[in-house]
Symmetry: C2
Subunit: 295 residues, 2 copies
């Protein structure tokens, strides 16, 4: 049931994993958890790296969660490479790699769902109904299975992070959420498992997304309105790439509302559709020396 | 922050409770949890008694959960008697009594909800939309706060129990659910905090509910159809009391569907409205020597 790769244990069974991470056997040892959908890149490894510095044990899960893919989305096309992932995880210092099958995770379904609030209707949620239901479902299951002290999420999926942070806060989950900055290619493109689905030409164009967000951020700090900032970003991407804009939004973070009197942080986020895949990226903007933007 | 009654600690703060029940400090000690809405009666004390035999520590919560009362329901009228409850809990052997305020439990609300599946549309769920959302919300919060090894629920709220068991199964909650039989008055009336809202005359009539369920159970075992059984129970209650039938249902348990090929257990349940309150009761019927009833 348990395989080893360079000292890393590979586990497929929930029961075996829970036995391994049994509360009484980890007394005084902390567990850091890195949930992933696999096809690991440096972004995931940055999560592991941070988890290693803060915990005694690092558990990674690789599970392409069918519950968070909608009809017509890329569940089948989502890239998978278990052998490479296992090697990378072991090299990065993962202690336990949990790779359940969909049947192991969802053997039965009594129909209980976790529905996110208004946060889920913004950004990617608008075009992916049910996506964050699936995310919350698998996160609650994984947290209950692993019982981690800390869990690590990249800022790239900023909406997911905002919703999970709200879930942890409102439902008293016992796991601390750690935000880890987006890791980028040398040309600025955010690392993503989906980048392999770009054509050569699209890959060349893709750094335009990050450039556009930087231009938008600069405009934001001059006092421009949200509408002006969003328009600038969309226009720059459309003019410099073949990508089609799914959305560009400037919202209070982590509330994901268009206006917030309490928020000190804003997110400038976008999603861009290419031929075979859809890329997202964002920039978190702190409000120091400027007025809140007005719509 | 922590008061003591006969060695029982009374805690109002989530933070204090979590510190007290900290994982590292309870190594090798098991925690049994009895969640209640207070106004304790022997039904609750039977839960404590069973929890004591199976755990090192017993935690009880008293929290009249606003999230599970609908508009026009009896949240304000729900009986409360904290002093008496504290005394009874201490005498029964509760180690820690957790009594948070609604503000402590729900300081913020990001709008994330837990929606039950088809189980919630049967029985009481039909006339109490949103009720089990509120139950699942508070149960997940309380389980995360207390982190119990076992939690104890009475069979009287059989629908609640069925839904919570499904939640634990489908979401890998780390708490084992223990079913405890309904405790009854000498005349057969199921113990309930709501019984105090009955008039003297209604209190005299109320044992009719249990008598009717027993008659229905006997009819079930003769091979009668679900329809016949339900009709018999409703008729007996209407003829022998001033109570109005809310529902009488014979369903597979714990699926709460009208037919199930796998179920070995059935529930015969009813809700009856009196002037100021609504009572529920049920009987679990095992399928041994008879065919599955047909509708």
């Amino acid at each position: 049931m348990v395989a080893k790769t360079r000292g890393m244990k590979i586990v497929h069974s929930i029961e075996v994993l829970q036995h391994m991470l049994n509360r009484d056997e980890r007394i005084g040892r902390t567990v850091g958890f890195v949930p992933t959908m696999g096809f690991l890149h440096e972004g995931h490894l940055a999560l592991v790296e941070q988890a290693r510095t803060q915990n005694d044990l690092v558990v990674m899960s690789i599970f392409v969660n069918p519950a968070q893919f909608g009809p017509g989305e890329d569940f089948e096309a989502y890239p998978r490479d278990i052998e490479r992932d296992s090697r990378l995880a072991a090299e990065a210092g993962v202690d336990v790699l949990f790779m359940p099958t969909p049947e192991e995770m969802y053997p039965q379904d009594g129909g209980i769902r976790i529905l996110p609030g208004p946060q889920a209707t913004a950004l990617c949620g608008a075009s992916r109904p049910g996506h964050f239901d699936g995310v919350l479902k698998v996160i609650l299951k994984l947290f209950n299975i692993v019982d981690p002290d800390r869990a690590y999420f990249g800022m790239k999926d900023a909406q997911q992070l905002a919703i999970i942070e709200t879930f942890v806060r409102d439902y008293n989950l016992r796991t601390a959420i750690v935000r880890v900055p987006t890791v980028r290619e040398p040309d600025g493109l955010a690392k993503s498992s989906r980048n392999v689905n770009l054509s050569e030409k699209e890959r060349e164009e893709a750094p335009v997304i990050q450039q556009a967000l930087q231009k938008g951020a600069a405009l934001f700090h001059t006092g421009a309105s949200a509408e002006q900032v969003e328009k600038e970003v969309a226009q720059y991407i459309t003019e410099h790439s073949s990508g089609r804009i799914d959305y560009v939004s400037l919202l209070a973070y982590p509330e994901l509302t268009t206006s917030s009197e309490t928020s000190r942080e804003w997110i400038l986020a976008c999603a861009v559709k290419f031929e075979k895949t859809r890329l997202i990226d964002n920039s978190i903007l702190s409000v120091f020396s400027k007025e809140f933007p007005t719509q």
